[in-house]
């Protein structure tokens, strides 16, 4: 991707910019900390970091309203933080502790918050897509105008059930926004090695679903596209597809040596397109904030992340009695 000019801050207030900056930075620092804890053996199994993709969820959550739902696959930490879930509960789930959102029984890939209408956290690539449409189905059935953000990656975009879902979603005009987070690699397979389709969002045309490509490194562009998609869905016009072009700086998971791309490619992206840096520059050049203002935000976020990490270490492991609970709901 060629270097582009930084995003313009048209029609956006200082408060909004500051919020985007803080929300994106929170995700990045949280994920960096998660990476450290993983290295220390405190987090086990798979751990998929969201570093680099922060603008996607922050931009779209800015377009969401109370009562809207969201669901994603396994690279889900950013989505949880962006929709307002408590970093302590998320981090404690990563460490498999009682204080985690699933009381340690879900882990990195399987976390939920009914309160925040975050429906997972799904470990099976593509499986969350029809579920997202089902959440939208329930909203429509109940006569509300709420929408469901259904996130999946460029890898999931080649799963058959995504297209079964497109068909049903358009057939029944479900209020669902399909967000394809195209970070260019499905694990180690680049989009170009996985499909001849020039773009993923255009596949929606086969089902009559409108959509567009969005610059996922520009939080303002994501927000604007999110507003448009939300408006479309809330108006009862059925689904909408956003293919958000983004990039993950880290490996697919913690054990990924990332031999499928060059260090230069990653470095170039970080230097020229980083979403957080773009907003930082907007704030500074637009005189919306001083270096000191931003440092204060950085310090506050670092403190909150450290607090989450401390909580995640100190929270006890689930009681052994938890092994056999939550298998069935009481009839």
């Amino acid at each position: 991707m060629a270097a582009r000019k930084p995003a313009r801050a048209a029609n956006v207030s200082r408060d909004e910019l500051m919020q985007y900056y803080a929300d994106m930075l929170m995700i990045r620092r949280f994920e960096e900390k998660a990476g450290q804890l993983y290295g220390m053996g405190l987090i086990g199994g798979f751990c998929h970091l969201y570093i680099g993709q922060e603008a996607v969820v922050v931009g779209l959550e800015a377009a969401a309203e109370e009562g809207d739902s969201r669901i994603t696959t396994y690279r889900d930490h950013g989505h949880m933080l962006a929709c307002g879930m408590d970093p302590k509960g998320v981090m404690a789930e990563l460490t498999g502790r009682e204080g985690g959102y699933s009381r340690g029984k879900g882990g990195s890939m399987h976390m939920f918050s009914k309160e925040k209408r975050f429906y997972g956290g799904h470990g099976i690539v593509g499986a969350n897509v029809p579920i997202g449409a089902g959440l939208a189905f329930a909203d429509k059935y109940n006569g509300t105008d709420r929408v469901t953000f259904t996130y999946f990656g460029d890898g999931a975009a080649n799963q058959g059930q995504v297209y079964e879902t497109y068909n049903m979603a358009m057939l029944w005009e479900l209020p669902v926004i399909f967000v394809i987070e195209n970070n260019r690699y499905a694990m180690g397979t680049s989009v170009q090695r996985a499909t001849k389709s020039p773009s993923l969002w255009e596949r929606g045309a086969a089902y009559g679903i409108p959509g567009e490509e969005v610059d996922g490194m520009d939080v303002l562009a994501v927000k604007a596209a999110g507003d448009k998609a939300v408006k479309h869905c809330r108006a009862g016009k059925g689904p909408y597809i956003l293919e958000v072009m983004t990039y993950r700086y880290r490996g697919h998971s913690m054990s990924d040596p990332a031999k499928y791309r060059t260090r230069d490619e990653v470095q170039k992206m970080r230097e020229e397109r980083d979403a957080i840096e773009q907003v930082r520059q907007l704030l500074l050049t637009g005189k919306h904030a001083t270096e000191d203002d931003l440092k204060a935000i950085d310090r506050d976020i670092k403190a909150r992340v450290n607090e989450a990490a401390d909580f995640a270490r100190e929270s006890p492991e689930p009681d052994v009695s938890e092994l056999m609970t939550d298998i069935y709901a009481e009839a």
């Binding site: 959102y101 009381r103 939920f112 579920i131 089902g134 058959g160 079964e164 939550d326 069935y328």
Partner: protein
């Protein structure tokens, strides 16, 4: 030369039907391809075309006649100038021709007439009952629950306008409308996942699979999404929904349409698995399934759909999960089965009675939770056990029961438990092979003779 027109078999499981209407009158000329009658099968009302030409000499079965067996002569086609009266007696009342389509034989062999429940009915003594087919009982269960809870809806292939591929959802569209009775594209994986999402969103979906054979396309959603989410979410989010449809072998539909999934789903923690035999259980258990806050796999059977049983006439009749039903009390051997396997168990018990062997017959009804207490109590009394199911032998429900009995009632056993199952082969198409591939009553009898040393 006069030609007999025989009652056709218009579905794989049809044994008899209703001659709903004659569209040609006696004396009318018939060409090949003309619609001559409307016949109501166990699935639908079908138009019946003539395959020969001639004059409809005589109608043997008047319209409106119910229960006309397949292959019964229903009319006589004559050539111009020929007398129908002369032709008719020449053909005998015995219609079975060797080349005639023969779904009758295997279907009958697999499904002996259901016996009346002997023991422990699930309704108070003195309650009025009426005969109802399993099909009608399932439909009534859904209709009652849809009246009771506006969040209950059904979706599946052909459930609405077509009135159900097996007529199980007949009439639901008329009563509840297209919002709650939803025809879907052929998209099993998709509707299973969408149903899970709707359940997460607070609704109570019933997802109908045209058969559970097709649910293999959806099994990831059933197992990974529906059954595991409550646990993975630390109890925050459950998945209150029902996956239902016919399961197991029907008749002559071959390997890809004839598998029993009882053991597959019973393997999964977080899942509840129901496999009813009788109409009252079908009704009472389906109502319980719809109300249950957990995902329920509800395994029906195409051959049982048309069987009639006593169903109590009650305002709100439900059957609890995890409670087996003792169909017949006995002292010498315990026969444990579920679903269509019960037809063999009951038939075997009746034959054994004539030999002086008293068999206790237990219908598990739900496989998860499974009422092993009732089985163990019976085995402690009879000291012998034979399990019966149509599914494959490896990892069968009977295997699990054998292990439970061995662990908990070993000292009571006078013989090893024998599992009668379907054979370890993909289902063949040929009628004779299909019959052999399924479990047979003879095999049950042989197993009982073995465990009773008689």
């Amino acid at each position: 030369m006069a030609t007999e027109i025989l009652m056709p078999a218009l579905s794989p499981t049809m044994e008899e039907g209703t001659l709903a209407k004659w569209l040609k009158r006696e004396g009318e000329t018939v060409s090949a391809g003309d619609i001559i009658a409307e016949i109501e099968t166990d699935k639908a009302t079908m138009e019946f075309e003539a395959v020969d030409e001639g004059i409809l000499g005589r109608i043997l079965i008047p319209e409106g006649t119910e229960g006309v067996k397949v292959n019964t002569p229903i009319a006589v086609l004559v050539e111009d100038g020929e007398s129908a009266d002369a032709a008719a007696p020449a053909s005998a009342p015995e219609p079975a021709k060797t080349e005639a389509p023969a779904p009758k034989a295997p279907a009958e062999a697999k499904a002996p007439a259901p016996a009346a429940a002997k023991m422990e009915p699930d309704w108070p003594e003195g309650t009025e009952t009426r005969k109802q087919t399993v099909r009608e009982a399932l439909r009534d269960a859904m209709a009652e629950e849809m009246r009771r809870d506006a969040g209950v809806f059904i979706m599946g292939e052909e459930v609405a306008e077509y009135q159900g591929a097996y007529k199980v959802t007949q009439g639901l569209l008329d009563e509840f409308g297209a919002k709650r009775v939803i025809d879907t594209p052929i998209t099993e994986h998709g509707i299973a996942g969408l149903g899970v999402g709707a359940a997460f969103g607070g609704l109570k979906p019933i997802v109908e699979f045209m058969t559970f054979n097709f649910a293999m396309q959806a099994i990831d959603q059933i197992v990974n999404s529906a059954a595991k989410t409550l646990y993975m979410s630390g109890g925050q989010m459950g998945c209150p929904m029902v996956f239902r449809g016919p399961n197991g072998a029907a008749a002559r539909v071959g390997a890809q349409h004839s598998q029993c999934y009882a053991a597959w789903y019973a393997h999964i923690p977080g899942m509840k698995v129901v496999m009813p035999y009788s109409a009252s259980d079908a009704k009472g258990l389906l109502k319980t399934a719809i109300r249950d806050p957990n995902p329920v796999v509800f395994l029906e059977n195409e051959i049982l759909y048309g069987k009639s049983f006593d169903v109590p006439v009650m305002e709100d009749f439900t059957v609890p999960f995890g409670k087996a039903r003792i169909w017949r009390e006995g002292m010498d051997v315990t026969l444990v089965s579920f679903g269509i396997g019960m037809t063999y168990a009951i038939e075997a018990a009746e034959k054994l009675a004539t030999e002086g062997i008293s068999a206790e017959v237990i219908d598990l009804r739900t496989l998860r939770p499974m009422d092993t207490d009732t089985v163990l109590a019976s085995v402690r009394k009879t000291n012998r056990c034979v399990t019966i199911e149509e599914g494959f032998p490896v990892g069968a429900i009977g295997n699990h029961l054998s292990a439970v009995i061995m662990e908990q009632a070993f000292d009571y056993l006078d013989a090893p438990v024998i599992n009668c199952t379907g054979k370890d082969v993909p289902m063949p198409y040929a009628a004779n092979l299909e019959k052999l591939a399924l479990v047979t009553t003879e095999e049950v009898l042989a197993a009982v003779h073995k465990v009773t040393y008689r």
